[in-house]
Subunit: 327 residues, 2 copies
Amino acid sequence: MRDVARVVGKSPMTVSRALRGDTTVSAKTRALVRQNADEMGYVYDSTAHVFRTQKSGFVAVTVPSINNANFAETFRGLSDGLEGTGMQLLLGSTNYSVDKELEVVRQLLARNPEAIVLTGGTHLPQTRRLLEKAQIPVIEIWDLASDPLGHVVGFSNADAMSKIVHDLAENGRRKLAFIGASEGSDMRGSARREGVIAAAQSLGLPEVRVIDAGFAPVSMRHGMRAVQKLGQAIKQLDALVCVSDPVAFGALNECRRMGINIPQDLAITGFGNFEVATVSSPSITTVNVHANQIGRKVANVLQDIFAGQIDAQWIDVGSTLVRGETV
Amino acid sequence: MRDVARVVGKSPMTVSRALRGDTTVSAKTRALVRQNADEMGYVYDSTAHVFRTQKSGFVAVTVPSINNANFAETFRGLSDGLEGTGMQLLLGSTNYSVDKELEVVRQLLARNPEAIVLTGGTHLPQTRRLLEKAQIPVIEIWDLASDPLGHVVGFSNADAMSKIVHDLAENGRRKLAFIGASEGSDMRGSARREGVIAAAQSLGLPEVRVIDAGFAPVSMRHGMRAVQKLGQAIKQLDALVCVSDPVAFGALNECRRMGINIPQDLAITGFGNFEVATVSSPSITTVNVHANQIGRKVANVLQDIFAGQIDAQWIDVGSTLVRGETV
DNA sequence: CGGTAACATGTTATCGGTAACTAAATTGGC
DNA sequence: GCCAATTTAGTTACCGATAACATGTTACCG
């Protein structure tokens, strides 16, 4: 910039202004500066710009796992909704661990994001402190955080699970088992478990049997193994309520191998309305949590924030029961 | 850093060194600094670091879709392999479009990445020009690019498909159909299609019927629809060779609905060794392309590059046939 | 033609680390 | 116990753009 200034016979400041199209620089000077900068092959140093203005043009996003169709869908909705704003998404994966989350948040914050989006509403105290200290907008998504750090866009896991349990009860299923990740390894999963237990209780159903499918992330093979683990005890159950569709699908296939008829002998439900729920035969009863819409709403919230609106938003996108052939 | 220095009673320079693990700072001081920095919730400003050292600490990565277990797995392998190097991954999604790729590459390059990793070996001429002009290492992955821009880590789609076709032929299947995305919408898919056709030809099999499953990304429902589209014509086939496991799974379920016995009446194969291939019953014959390993190898290549090694590497990670119950 | 508003440009300090250099403290050999 | 070698820590000057403020220049009024 100094070099360009020297050639043009102006100060670096004028060059800076001219290149940014500041109208306080005369049109003539602006054109002159632009032309010379071009001719000299001057390349604007965005790193210095970021450093000086403390605006990175980044929005940081944490997800438990990028290898999950629903989180990926949210990410895409967010990405699409932010197109044209010049904001870029910086992604960090927490592997369903609050400890990893701390580390990831630290790394992300080091890049000076202009806002941070966290999947999930449970964090280490240290993480919370970091975020508060960072003085940037925080959006917690997917869960309806009980003690939000800022904005919230999500749905109630308990509410969604209640829909499932009601549907099961209406179909005469009483003895339920819940298949989910080990306690402590997936907060969202725990919320779903509690939701099932609470709903069953309020409907006067017998106690829900909880089956541990291993550490998060749990997927198809975990559903399969959980059913294997149950063995013949499965005969005493009316329904398997699974923490996600992939788990339900794994369970479904293992049941089939064991000669159990679905849904005659046993109902199975999933969560998340993954593609596999629809395509599977029988198709799996599940809950659509509008993953893409969450991303879009977050994009809207961010645009509001950047436009100067600051009061914390709290958005419940709700959930919808999707009836399949497994109930 | 100044604040931490004041608390610890040292100079900012010492803090800087301590946090970077410089051994010219005594172990005692280092521990002290680290602890206080933690307690104070100090966040390292990598923007300033980037600015001062003129190194962005970014590696840019493009993928066709993050909502794909295999690409996600590669990304994770890369991410894991780069842990501890301080490099961060900047992700851009191209939606299987070379036009979108151009745009994404442009955006990524504006952040001054120190290297760029491209999934796929086919690009617009304009994209190639941009990349050449950027003067940074380029790594093309997944395909073995015919005219590489730099380094290559991938496998041969033709080779992988040939393994599948040979396995089918050995089991007496002769009349094959290939289900994949519309021509031009997925280069990797096209390479697989050509691979099937070539392998069938070299084995003296009848001409392969090509079934268009719609625009990429194609998934379970596309496999389902492709089979619906085939209708009764499917009775004349011996095998459905699908461009990916999800497509194969969709096709498999639709066949089941139509009362076709798999594998007695018809063989079905997938690609990619997705979880669904194993869990499905019957399990699907597929090819493992070592997605995670690709990511790891890329991480190694990057480390070599940053260590100063510059000659272009060309790594074929190969592929492995995984026999399932659908052949 | 003096004076001020409106416009155009310049000056200075700074964002937060860190390379290169300098200086102090400690160690160890004799 | 002394001095050189080694270890540890501090100083200074940046990286390049730009916000905030200061100054210079022109336009236009009565």
